[in-house]
Structures are given as structure tokens and as C-alpha cells.
């Protein structure tokens, strides 16, 4: 697509569509909207528009579409896929002021909201009514639900409760031509046509601007417990995960820290973690007390077969302490070096141990520092590289290492991204996962929604696919 500039005439039309109070093109606003949370990427937009209503978004998109001006929709810009930064200039459409929680329907167990609502605010509001919205990405204090929907966010509860796609029931979305599309509803069953709701979940702002959503809620589990197990053998930890599932227990959380992460967390927080251990599993269960207690007991037995040590939290304070290690993981790694690259290569649960081993091997091969933690229960790992963006030579090695990590994940039946999304960061590797046919179908879908390619241009579809690496 040939990107057009915002001429004074187009600006006039945009001002009218957006409302003068919602349109900014001063240097401060442009600079402050030139990035997202992905290290290194940055580009200047030409205008920043705050979304206020579906109708206003529709008016803005109509103008942008007519003049072929790129529109980059974002919430809090906390994504790690270079998914919202304005690669080709144009308009950054900020959703954070469309943040009303419209309804919590206790009869249908649904919540309806504008998509600029902060994830944690929804969690708090439904919790007050004894309800539960499980997707809880690490960024939930700042992320918007629109961002969660756009990237199909996961979190700690994926294994037992699924991810965002399992909760979104209905959407209101604006197409580039200004038409408003309404999908689904407060319905558990709805097979009227293609499932456009699911198609839009994870579409990363490339198909439409989602302004409202209805999600499914669950009754809040009345009781929770946490336990922790240390392993001096990575494969023993992985076998334990499989044994737990084979014993027909599905824990609410099943988190994992590798040796490197344990070392860094201990160096940072000094909470007495054994730094000679190869892995820590943090396991949580929720539900009715009798069931939870029984399953925690069962999991304790299973862990003790191979773990060096098992600790079960006896009270909330204990639980809080046991969770410190997991919570400190990201913090500890983020503080080590100026640039932190957090990836999300994902494999089938049974392949977690070989994958972690492969990551360690690749890190050594390229002499880069990579620690891994993540959601062992659903195979979603976070190999995290600590580097310095100013060191171009090292960055080149980091890039090669990650290419190999993605290739290794694919070879194990996994994927290049489990919960962060493609954006620009993984656009060049997308074809590795979905193949030529997959790319063709996706291009066709993109064209059907956005014929002029104004929504999030440059993302998802790379100009060129990177050459696949050959694993040793």
C-alpha cells in the first residue's frame, strides 16, 4: 500500500470526525505514541486520536480509509510483539478513554464493556460479585481488554481455564469503511454462520477496531492452595508435570522456573531459593475445599517421588511467600541488563523438558544469556534474553538464537508465539508456522475486512519471510 500523508484537508476531516479535543499532532503526543513495550522498535505517527465512542471511531475510520491513512489501534501499548507501534506513520488510535464497564449480567454470567477497560479493573469488579474472569496476563494491571482480545492473551490459568478466546462471546467492531459489525452475543450456543467472534480474537488490530465486547464469567472458586517443588533434574520436573495430568488432576496454575531463572531470582531477591536446583514447579489448585485438599495431597505425593523438596503453603501468608519466586522472575531478569527480550515459544506440554534443554543449548551456542520460566502446564515458555540494544554484534547473535528457538519449538510440534502475538516482531517467521496455504487464506481474510490495508499495516504479513534455519 502506498501510504498517504495527512494533508491539511485530511486533517480538517479527521478533526471533524474525531472531535477537536481528541485529535493531537503536537510533538509531545507524537513522540509519546511512537513506541510500544517491545524493545528497539520505534516510529513516529502523524496524529494521535483518542477513541470516544463506536460512532466516532466509525467516522474516523471512514476518513482514514478514503485517504488510505494507516490506523494503528492501541490500548496501553504493553504488547511485546511490536504489535501497535506505528510502523508506517499515520494515526495512532488510542482506546484507553473508552473504558466503561457497561454491565455485569449475573443471570447470564457475562460482562459487557468498552475495550479500553483495564483488565485488572474488570477482574476487581467481577470479583466483588463473587465471579471470576480467568485470563490474567502478566501485564493485567495496565493492559486493556481490547489489547487482550486483539492478541488473545493468556496468563497463569491457561491449562485449567483456557485463554481469552475461550471467554469472548460477542464483539462490536468497526470495519475500515465505517460499518459496524456485531458478532455473537450472550450466547453459549450460536452457529449462525462463520464464527467471526473467534476470528477477530487474536486479529491484532489488522481486521477491525473492536470497541465493545461481551465475555463469559465463571463463579469464583471459593478456596485456593499453593505448593512448590524443587527438582535437581529438569526431566524429573517435566515427568512430574505429566504424571500430575495423568493422575487426572488439572491444576489451576502450574508454573516453572529453570536453573538460570532461579539463580537470578535468588541474586535479586535473596529469598533462600536453592540455586543448585535445575527447576522449580509452582503448583496451585482452586475449587471446593475438599476437592482442593485431596488434589493437593495427591500432587504432593506425586512430586515427592522425584523432587528434592516439596513445600505446601499452610495459610495465605505462606502462599504469598511461595509465589514470590514466580512473581520476582520477570523483575529479576528485567533488572539484570538494559534490554530484556521476553519471548513466548510454546510446545505441547509433553515437550517442555526437551524444549528447555534446547533453549539452554542454543543460548550457549550463540553465547547469549537466556533464562526460561513460564507456564509448564500449557507448554507456554518464556525464554528471556538479557542483552543491551546498543551492542549490535550481540543483538545479531540474539536474533539468530531466537530463530533457532522458534525452529526448535516448531520441530517439537509447537508454535512461534503462544500468547504475545505476531505483530512485526514475528511477522517474518509466521509462515514457518502456518505455511504458504495458511498465509494465502489469511491474506484473503485480511482483504475481505480491510481491502485498502489501512489497519495496522506492516504487521502480521511480512514483506519477506525469513529463511528458515537448519537445526543441528
Amino acid at each position: 500500500m502506498e501510504e498517504k500523508k495527512i494533508t491539511p484537508e485530511i486533517k480538517k476531516q479527521l478533526l471533524e470526525a474525531a472531535g477537536t479535543d481528541n485529535y493531537f499532532d503536537d510533538e509531545e503526543s507524537l513522540l509519546a505514541h511512537s513506541y510500544d513495550a517491545t524493545p528497539i522498535y520505534q516510529a513516529m505517527p502523524e496524529a494521535v486520536i483518542y477513541a470516544r465512542s463506536t460512532r466516532q471511531v466509525s467516522a474516523v475510520l471512514k476518513v482514514a480509509d478514503e485517504h488510505r491513512i494507516p490506523v494503528y489501534t492501541r490500548g496501553s501499548a504493553s504488547n511485546l510483539s511490536a504489535g501497535t507501534f506505528p510502523l508506517k506513520g499515520g494515526i495512532v488510535l488510542v482506546m484507553t478513554k473508552m473504558n466503561r464497564l457497561l454491565e455485569i449480567d449475573e443471570d447470564n454470567l457475562t460482562a459487557t464493556f468498552e475495550t479500553g477497560l483495564i483488565t485488572k479493573d474488570l477482574h476487581d469488579a467481577v470479583q466483588e460479585k463473587g465471579l471470576f474472569y480467568p485470563p490474567d496476563p502478566g501485564s493485567m494491571v495496565v493492559s486493556t481488554l481490547g489489547g487482550n482480545i486483539g492478541n488473545c492473551a493468556g496468563g497463569l490459568h491457561g491449562l485449567k481455564y483456557g485463554t481469552t478466546k475461550d471467554y469472548v462471546l460477542g464483539l462490536k467492531a468497526v470495519l475500515p469503511n465505517g460499518d459496524v459489525l456485531e458478532t455473537g452475543g450472550k450466547l453459549t450456543k450460536d452457529v449462525a454462520g462463520y464464527d467471526l467472534t473467534k476470528l477477530l480474537v487474536g486479529s491484532e488490530g489488522t481486521l477491525a477496531v473492536i470497541t465493545e465486547a461481551t465475555v463469559k464469567l465463571l463463579p469464583a472458586p471459593p478456596y485456593k492452595r499453593i505448593m512448590l517443588a524443587y527438582f535437581d533434574d529438569l526431566f524429573a520436573a517435566a515427568r512430574t508435570v505429566s504424571k500430575i495430568i495423568a493422575a487426572k488432576v488439572i491444576p489451576a496454575t502450574l508454573e516453572f522456573l529453570d536453573h538460570g531463572t532461579i539463580r537470578e531470582v535468588e541474586a535479586f531477591a535473596g529469598i533462600g531459593l536453592p540455586t543448585d536446583m535445575e527447576a522449580i514447579l509452582i503448583i496451585g489448585q482452586d475449587g471446593h475445599q475438599a476437592v482442593v485438599d485431596e488434589e493437593i495431597e495427591k500432587m504432593t505425593q506425586i512430586c515427592m517421588e522425584e523432587a528434592a523438596e516439596v513445600k505446601v503453603a499452610e495459610n495465605d501468608e505462606d502462599a504469598e511467600r511461595l509465589m514470590t519466586a514466580r512473581r520476582a522472575a520477570f523483575t529479576a531478569l528485567a533488572r539484570k541488563k538494559p534490554t530484556t527480550i521476553l519471548e513466548d515459544a510454546t510446545v505441547p506440554r509433553s515437550q517442555v523438558a526437551p524444549m528447555v534443554e534446547k533453549i539452554v543449548e542454543i543460548g550457549q551456542k550463540y553465547d547469549v544469556e537466556i533464562c526460561t520460566f513460564g507456564h509448564a502446564g500449557d507448554g507456554n515458555l518464556h525464554p528471556t534474553c538479557m542483552t543491551d540494544a546498543r551492542d549490535e554484534e550481540e543483538l545479531a547473535r540474539v536474533e539468530k538464537a531466537f530463530d533457532e528457538i522458534f525452529e526448535a519449538a516448531l520441530a517439537l510440534g509447537g508454535t512461534i508465539t503462544g500468547e504475545h502475538g505476531v505483530g512485526l516482531a514475528k511477522a517474518a517467521q509466521l509462515e514457518w508456522k502456518v505455511g504458504k496455504a495458511g498465509m494465502e487464506v489469511m491474506r484473503g481474510i485480511k482483504k475481505a475486512f480491510d481491502p485498502h490495508g489501512i489497519l495496522n499495516p506492516g504487521k502480521m504479513f511480512a514483506e519477506e519471510t525469513r529463511e528458515r534455519v537448519v537445526l543441528d
Binding site: 513522540l31 522498535y41 501499548a77 507501534f85 501485564s139 495496565v142 533488572r335 538494559p338 519471548e343 540474539v398
Partner: protein, 448 residues
């Protein structure tokens, strides 16, 4: 990831601010910001404005843009740094441990040196205050004496009666109304320079008496000394000490702050104390960071600065973590606590004040909703950014009202004045008072 895709940003024409920013900004710190946005919900001005540029992430991006030579209009940076409260709530929220306060001070300094054009009366006031009054204890005392004269001679009554006070902006009037009674003498004149421990001595504390604290809150300083003595500390009040320099550092006058810091280090080094006591979060946080402030000095100075910084403790920490004093007396009232930002986010003293207040027998402690968020005082912010400060204060007072407390406790002189003004403005003066935590403890313990 695809690092090679790094985007090129348009360069600005060379300007003095960008050049100075490139020299001053701790670029490692700026790069440590991974732009995750966790600071956004913690930031009071982001909450008010809802604009990215009014957030810590946005302000760091602007400072970095200047250092990278991308910022075309220096005014943008000045306005944003002026709007920042400097409360450092973002540091507590930051997973990467970015020292925002340091970047903010460097930004302020660059703006002050290379761009800021104050109106003439602001220039005169700044020069007078920063260079000719705050650095000198004696002159502070004279100022205290002048204010005391204003308050006691009938001049204050006359000014109010004649309506002269109405010539000042609203926020100045509000502050004037709650100005505490001042005195020309400081704590060392009143109590002497050495106050021995009561009972068995557990250590020696050097009392940092501060500038504003010592003239406007002399009683608080006296109570601090008495409490510390009660807790088992010998208390020394070094005579040669001066203002901590926080107001200077936060307003772009880092060089002057450094000079003040060096003098304080000398004064306390000579006294050879185990601890240095602060009863003002705003001062304590900077005192504790003298090693950062002076990190481009020679090795001897850096070592002395570390010696000093490592000894600085808030009075609540000294009592709770370093003494065995646990009897906090008794009071029959409902109390709540508004944190001092720099005590909490700078010194990382969070739980001690709550614990001390909850130890007062007979008192009912009610938590203040968002008591950890800035009250809008922020040094002299409420005087220079009255509109934003007013919005933040109004929201704060709504939460305060809901506690139905008799006493609103805080731990820093600026916050205390702001809370007094807030109570006055909210029409709660007959129901509620604002008190420094040390004064409340002295009252509960019946310390004379």
C-alpha cells in the same frame, strides 16, 4: 523478533537542550525502561490527564528523545517535567527498577540550564530562595522570625482584615491560612546539641533538623529528639548542618544541591554517628541518595557520601527496626495515615508508620483509601502547579472524608501543610486535624 527492522526516527535540528540532555542523562537508566507501562496506573498525573506524555513512560521517552537529538521543541519537555509531581510512585511500580527520580532531576537540570525562561519575579524568588536563604541556617531563622513577627504582631490579622490577602492567588491564600506558628530558634538552640539516651544507650543518632522543619515545625523536631532519646539513642544535633538540597535537586539546581550535600556530610562525619535521623520523607530520600548525587566526585567524596547515605533512617524505622521501644502510649481517637511519597517510594519505608500508629492503645486505626498515592503537595509543586495539585488534593480529601477520622497523620512537612490546607478547604476543620506522626506519638506517650 527481528532486530534489523529497527526504525529510523527523524532527527531534530541541533539545539542546546538536546546537547545538554545527552551529557546529563544517565542513558543506562533511560534504557532500563522497557516501556512495559506498569507505571501508568501508579502515576497521579497520568490518571488525571489520561495522556501517554503525562506518564513516567512518556516522560522518559521525551527525555530520551532529547538525548537522542530527536526533540524539536524543548518546551514540550519543560512542560512535562513541570507537570510531574516527582512523587516516584512509578519507581515502586517498576519491574525493571528504573530510578525515575534520578532521570527526572537530570532532565530538570538540563531544562533549567538550557531552556527554562522564568518570569522575572519567579527568577528573583528562585535566586533568593535557592541561593540566598535555604542554604543558610541563620537566614532561615531570620525568615522564621519574620514569619513569627507577621503572625504575632497583628500584621496577619490586619492583612486578612483589609482583604490584602485576596490579592494573592487562591492556592497561596489557602496555604497562608494554615501556616503553622514559626519561631526564630531551632531545635539545637532549644534543646542543646547533645541529648543523652534515657535508660540504656543503644546507639548514637545524628538529628537532621532540616530547614523548613526547623522553623515551621520546631515542635516536631523537638519531639523527634525526645522520642529518640526515649528509645535509647544519644542524640547529637550537629550545628554545621544545612538544608538537604532536595528542593534544589527537584527544581533543576543539582549543583547547589551537591554543595549542600557535601556540607552535611562533613557535619555528620565529624559527629561520628551510628545513624542519621530524618523526620521528613522528602529530605530523607535525598539524604539517602547522596551517594548517587555525588557519584561524579572523587573517590574520597564518594566513600564519604556512601558512609552518610547508608546511615540515614526515618525516625519510624529507628524506633521500630533499631530500638526496643514498643509502648506507643494511648489516645482515644480515630486515626488515619497519608503516606509521604518520598518516604514510601524513595526510602521504601512503608509499613513502619502504620505499625506504630496501630500500636497506640485506645486509638482506632482506619486505612485511608489510596493513602499511598501523592497528595499533590510534592515539595513546592502545589505552589507552582496549583491546578493539577488542586485536582489531586480534591480527590484525596474525598477519601479522607470517608475515613471519618479525627486525626489525619502524615510524615513530611509539605504533606502536612497540604493536608492542613485540604482539611480547611473541605470544611472539615472542626472535625479533623492533621498531625505529624512524631507529634502524635509524643502526644500519645505524654512526652513533655
Amino acid at each position: 523478533m527481528a532486530v534489523i527492522e529497527k526504525q529510523s526516527m527523524p532527527k531534530a535540528e541541533e539545539n542546546a537542550l538536546n546537547t545538554r540532555m545527552a551529557e546529563l542523562l544517565n542513558y543506562d537508566q533511560a534504557l532500563n525502561c522497557m516501556r512495559c507501562g506498569f507505571c501508568l496506573p501508579a502515576c497521579p498525573t497520568y490518571r488525571e490527564m489520561g495522556q501517554e506524555a503525562s506518564s513516567p513512560r512518556g516522560r522518559i521517552a521525551l527525555m530520551k528523545a532529547a538525548a537522542d537529538g530527536l526533540l524539536q521543541n524543548p518546551q514540550v519537555l519543560e512542560d512535562q517535567l513541570n507537570q510531574c509531581l516527582g512523587c516516584r510512585a512509578c519507581e515502586t511500580a517498576c519491574p525493571a527498577g528504573v530510578h525515575y527520580g534520578e532521570l527526572y532531576e537530570q532532565g530538570k537540570q538540563a531544562v533549567e540550564e538550557k531552556h527554562a525562561r522564568h518570569r522575572f519575579w519567579v527568577r528573583i524568588l528562585r535566586k533568593l530562595a535557592f541561593e540566598h536563604i535555604f542554604p543558610y541556617q541563620k537566614r532561615m531563622r531570620i525568615l522564621g522570625g519574620l514569619i513569627a513577627f507577621y503572625q504575632k504582631s497583628g500584621l496577619q490579622r490586619l492583612v486578612r482584615k483589609l482583604g490584602l490577602i485576596k490579592l494573592f492567588p487562591q492556592h497561596m491564600q489557602e496555604m497562608e491560612a494554615v501556616l503553622p506558628e514559626t519561631k526564630a530558634s531551632g531545635v539545637s538552640q532549644e534543646l542543646g546539641e547533645f541529648i543523652p539516651a534515657k535508660g540504656e544507650k543503644i546507639g548514637t543518632v545524628g538529628m537532621f533538623s532540616g530547614c523548613i522543619m526547623d522553623i515551621m515545625f520546631l515542635e516536631t523536631n523537638k519531639n523527634t529528639v525526645k522520642l529518640l532519646s526515649e528509645a535509647g539513642f544519644d542524640v547529637l544535633i550537629p550545628k554545621q548542618q544545612n538544608c538537604c538540597g532536595a528542593l534544589h535537586a527537584h527544581n533543576g539546581e543539582r549543583e547547589k544541591a551537591k554543595a549542600l550535600a557535601k556540607n552535611n556530610i562533613r557535619a555528620f562525619k565529624e559527629a561520628n554517628v551510628d545513624f542519621i535521623a530524618s523526620n521528613a520523607g522528602g529530605c530523607g530520600a535525598l539524604l539517602q541518595e547522596y551517594n548517587h548525587l555525588l557519584d561524579d566526585e572523587d573517590e574520597d567524596m564518594r566513600r564519604e557520601a556512601s558512609w552518610f547515605a547508608g546511615r540515614v533512617k526515618d525516625v519510624s524505622e529507628l524506633i521500630l527496626d533499631h530500638s526496643s521501644l514498643r509502648d506507643m502510649g494511648s489516645l482515644n481517637e480515630r486515626i488515619t495515615y497519608q503516606s509521604s511519597c518520598h518516604l514510601q517510594n524513595g526510602m521504601q519505608v512503608k509499613d513502619q508508620p502504620h505499625f506504630l500508629l496501630q500500636s497506640i492503645k485506645g486509638a482506632e486505626y482506619v486505612p485511608l483509601l489510596e493513602g499511598e498515592r501523592c497528595c499533590g503537595s510534592a515539595g513546592i509543586y502545589n505552589l507552582v502547579q496549583p491546578e493539577m495539585a488542586g485536582r489531586i488534593l480534591a480527590e484525596k480529601m474525598e477519601h479522607v472524608r470517608q475515613t471519618k477520622a479525627d486525626t489525619l497523620v502524615t510524615a513530611n512537612p509539605g504533606c502536612l501543610l497540604q493536608m492542613k490546607a485540604g482539611i480547611h478547604k473541605a470544611g472539615l476543620s472542626d472535625k479533623m486535624r492533621a498531625v505529624h506522626i512524631v507529634d502524635l506519638l509524643a502526644e500519645a506517650k505524654r512526652i513533655q
